[in-house]
């Protein structure tokens, strides 16, 4: 199980129109909407990669590239320093 965890100093805030990932140390801020918001929300709730992928497959059964898209997004979050 690949554990996903926000980096130290990164907080996630939920709002009706989306979410914000905020790095308290650097002041960097990332807006998330739609599926990205959903993924960030699940990470914030402690879900691992497999659970998130399962959830996405349930929501978007017709989508073929979910796993690749999820991994790309996770990589992007890591590169931006949002994930540990």
């Amino acid at each position: 199980m690949a554990k996903l965890e926000y980096a130290r100093g990164v907080v996630f805030r939920r709002e009706p129109a989306g979410g914000i990932l905020f790095n308290i140390d650097t002041g960097n801020l990332q807006v998330t909407e739609g599926v990205a918001f959903g993924i960030c929300d699940m990470i914030d709730n402690g879900k691992d990669r497999e659970s998130i992928l399962l959830e996405l497959r349930n929501h978007y059964p017709a989508e073929e590239n979910l796993e690749e898209d999820l991994d790309d997004f996770v990589r992007e979050l890591r590169e931006k320093g949002a994930l540990a």
Partner: protein, 345 residues
């Protein structure tokens, strides 16, 4: 240049002294008029110096920039050496050769001011007969010439119908965006401005109404913390730490504020070079040392502090007495318990 200094990335150039209109909210020439205008050659020299220091974006503003007698060659020169040249104009003037020059080298962005869909209301606010008709004609030309455009509407109250009417007009003209500017208490706006006239709850409801009911190309100019998440990506921030303004006589200013506040002016081109001003002006030094690090009030606790930087230090200076005072809308929202908790640290 000292390596720790930020780059003067953004230049606000005010080439013409004053304006052909007399708008109710303007800060320009509320104090004394400026001195002898810089010549075209002097502006070229100044722009070349700024370019060498790393400037990449120039806004020709004012006062009314199109009043400057050499505005067309000045624009041509500026657009030749800078990747992004924007113009803020009242759109009532069309100097000879302007459109040909624009077509040859399109501006990055041109915004014109229209405050009402009703010509009489606009003309009364702007203090000029037929201003509305001329500006609408200018806006149409921008669209026809395929120039990136925007209409700016300045408002001092919360009436919704005028905004709806303006949105309809803008759509009809084919203009890309309608920016709603809330009049700030500076210059002639001191006595009739948005924050002074309205209770904060009603202001926030008004902002929410724009987001919920108006098309997404209607852009209220409000602090990031008061915008829904899905509108943050479209928000522009004041580049205050990288901003240099120059008045018509070569006085260095922060944006154009020194038109009305002489304490925000320091040094004069060409006696003072661009580099000397950028390095030594107490105004720029004060900004560097205090914004955003020493912002006060709710700004200190806000997650947008680094990017928003108090939104407008001029507004904050006028409303709170210091460039580190918090934005008045955010502070009033916070004091009333209406500031979004999710944006606080």
């Amino acid at each position: 240049m000292t390596s720790q200094l930020p780059t003067p990335r953004v230049l606000y150039i005010n080439p013409a002294d004053g304006c052909n209109l007399h708008c109710k909210h303007c800060w320009v020439n509320e104090g004394s008029r400026t001195g002898k205008l810089l010549s075209l050659e002097q502006w070229k020299d100044l722009l070349t110096q700024a370019k060498a220091l790393g400037a990449g974006y120039v806004k020709l503003t004012g006062g009314e920039p199109l009043l400057y007698k050499d505005i067309v060659p000045l624009y041509r020169f500026t657009a030749d050496i800078f990747p992004q040249v924007a113009i803020e104009t009242n759109g009532t003037l069309q100097p000879d050769g302007l459109w040909e020059t624009f077509l040859n080298k399109k501006p990055f962005h041109v915004s014109v001011s229209i405050d009402s869909a009703n010509p009489d209301i606009h003309d009364e606010f702007r203090g000029g007969t037929d201003a509305w008709k001329k500006t609408v004609a200018f806006a149409k030309k921008l669209v026809e010439h395929g120039i990136n455009n925007q209409v700016i509407m300045s408002i001092a109250d919360l009436r919704r119908q005028p905004v709806k009417d303006m949105a309809r007009l803008v759509e009809k003209l084919g203009v890309s965006t309608l920016k709603i500017n809330f009049i700030i208490p500076s210059g002639r706006g001191k006595n009739n401005n948005f924050s002074r006239n309205s209770p904060i709850k009603e202001i926030l409801d008004f902002i929410a109404w724009i987001h919920e009911e108006m098309p997404d190309w209607v852009l209220p100019s409000v602090p990031a913390a008061l915008l829904p998440v899905n509108h943050l990506k479209k928000l522009g921030y004041c580049p205050v730490r990288n901003l240099m303004g120059v008045l018509p006589d070569g006085i260095f200013s922060l944006c154009g504020v020194a038109f009305s506040r002489k304490d925000m002016a320091w040094g004069k081109f060409p006696e003072t070079s661009v580099q000397e001003a950028w390095e030594n002006s107490p105004v720029y030094r004060m900004i560097r040392s205090s914004v955003p690090g020493h912002l006060e009030g709710v700004c200190r606790r806000c997650m947008h502090k680094n990017s928003c930087a108090g939104r407008c230090v001029v507004n904050n200076l006028e409303t709170g007495g210091s460039i580190t005072s918090p934005d008045i809308l955010c502070q009033r929202a916070y004091d009333a318990g209406l500031f979004p908790e999710t944006r606080l640290l």
